[in-house]
Amino acid sequence: MYDGGKIITGIIIGLVLLAFPIWYTHGTAPPRPEVKLPVKEKQCVQPKAYMKTNHMQLLDLWRDSTVRAAKRIYISDDGRKYDMSLQNTCMSADCHAKKTEFCDQCHNYTGVVPYCWDCHIEPKEPKEKSEEKH
């Protein structure tokens, strides 16, 4: 093998460089997303476990029911009534009043970019944080 030494060292250096993301971030896993739950409202429209796994299907249902069937009142399994509205029910002042502390936490962590907020208006949040960063 001509230049065997050089080739093998090259390959080793290449492999080390390729593995850069693994060894560079080793032991520094990003922090777990921390979701701040609403203080005032104790209960979501459905149990927490269901909301965790199925909130997207639920929101889809809400969307179709309100927009297409004009059925705007949702009745949860234990009989509470809700206005099916992302902007005015989910994100109301008593519930998930801050998108950055709730939705964004997990969505950013998992790299999910739902297009809800292209049109729907997120609740206003005080700008303190963003000003600190500048």
Binding site: L61, D64, T66, V67, A70, K71, R72, I75, Q87, D118
Partner: protein, 295 residues
């Protein structure tokens, strides 16, 4: 085991039945099937077995068999644009000056443009100057709904309102080509730019943030008047009609915009239609508009 010929034919047959049954029911006016489906197609109904639009119509909602509007143009106060302002305010419609990019839900047109088939040189002087309030006609036989490839625009079976489901709109603009009234606008530019500070009112003249009760739109969707479906659900009449009532009342006039159920014989709309000669825009096209004009 794979699908044999017999099984394949069975599945194909049942599927065809499923697709064909709804139009067939429509054609034959099979009411019980129609009622069971509640305005959805059979494939949609099958989908609902897994993905059901649960929910109930709110009790306070205003309901009708067929919503309609009567525009009494001569009651329109001079220079008044209140209906347009309030509509565009509550529905977060941007004020874009460039007529090529403009978004309109309700606007004022001239007689010759609103009734192009009726114009001639010698029409009544007054009519030449009066602004005619124009909006989506919520046709009984809407051309836009027929051409929409995704069913993003649809007619609500229970009250005849023609609505847009922005989530489904792919921006093909077939509906704009089909609508003979120019009632639809396309978002050529980002109407509500999202920036660090939130939703920017860049195209609102009042520079105020959007109405948080109603969503905004993105670039690439078509939008139009929704007869205030979201307000009707809360038991309120359309914003334009409400404002028109207030404005004209202050001036001691009768309202220029009247809203009501066309199928209810005693409704305000029907009373006006009974006692006045009314026009509709381009009735010859057969779309059967639900906005009437008293000139």
């Amino acid at each position: 085991m794979g699908v044999n010929r017999r099984k394949f034919l069975k599945i194909a047959g049942i599927s065809t039945l499923g697709v064909v049954a709804k139009p067939a029911a429509d054609a034959l006016a099979v009411e019980w099937l129609d009622k069971r489906l509640g305005g959805f197609t059979i494939p949609e109904t099958l989908l609902h077995l897994f993905h059901r639009p649960t929910g109930f119509t709110p009790g306070e909602a205003l309901t009708a068999k067929r919503w309609a509007m009567v525009v009494n143009v001569k009651n329109c106060p001079e220079g008044c644009k209140a209906c347009r302002e309030v509509c565009h305010k509550v529905h977060n419609v941007p004020d874009i000056e460039n007529p090529r990019h403009e978004i309109k839900w309700i606007w004022h047109g001239e007689y010759k443009h609103v009734f192009p088939g009726q114009k001639h040189e010698h029409i009544e002087e007054a009519l030449k100057k009066i602004p005619f309030v124009v909006l989506c006609n919520h046709c009984q036989n809407p051309a836009c709904v027929r051409v929409c490839p995704t069913k993003a625009t649809f007619k609500r079976k229970h009250d005849g309102i023609v609505l847009m489901d922005m989530h489904r709109c792919i921006g093909c603009r077939f509906c704009m080509a089909a609508c003979p009234f120019g009632a639809r606008s396309f978002n050529w530019i980002i109407p509500w730019p999202r920036e660090r500070a939130g939703t920017m009112p860049r195209f609102r003249k009042d520079k105020e943030p959007p109405n948080p009760e109603f969503p905004t739109r993105v670039k690439g969707v078509v939008e139009k008047c929704n007869f205030c479906a979201e307000r009707l659900a809360k038991g309120q009449i359309p914003a334009c009609v409400e404002t028109c009532r207030e404005v004209t009342k202050k001036k001691g006039m009768k309202p220029a915009l009247v809203f009501g159920d066309l199928e209810a014989p005693d409704s305000e709309v029907r009373q006006l239609l009974r006692s006045h000669y009314t026009l509709r825009r381009k009735p010859e096209l057969g779309t059967n508009p639900n906005v009437y004009y008293i000139v």
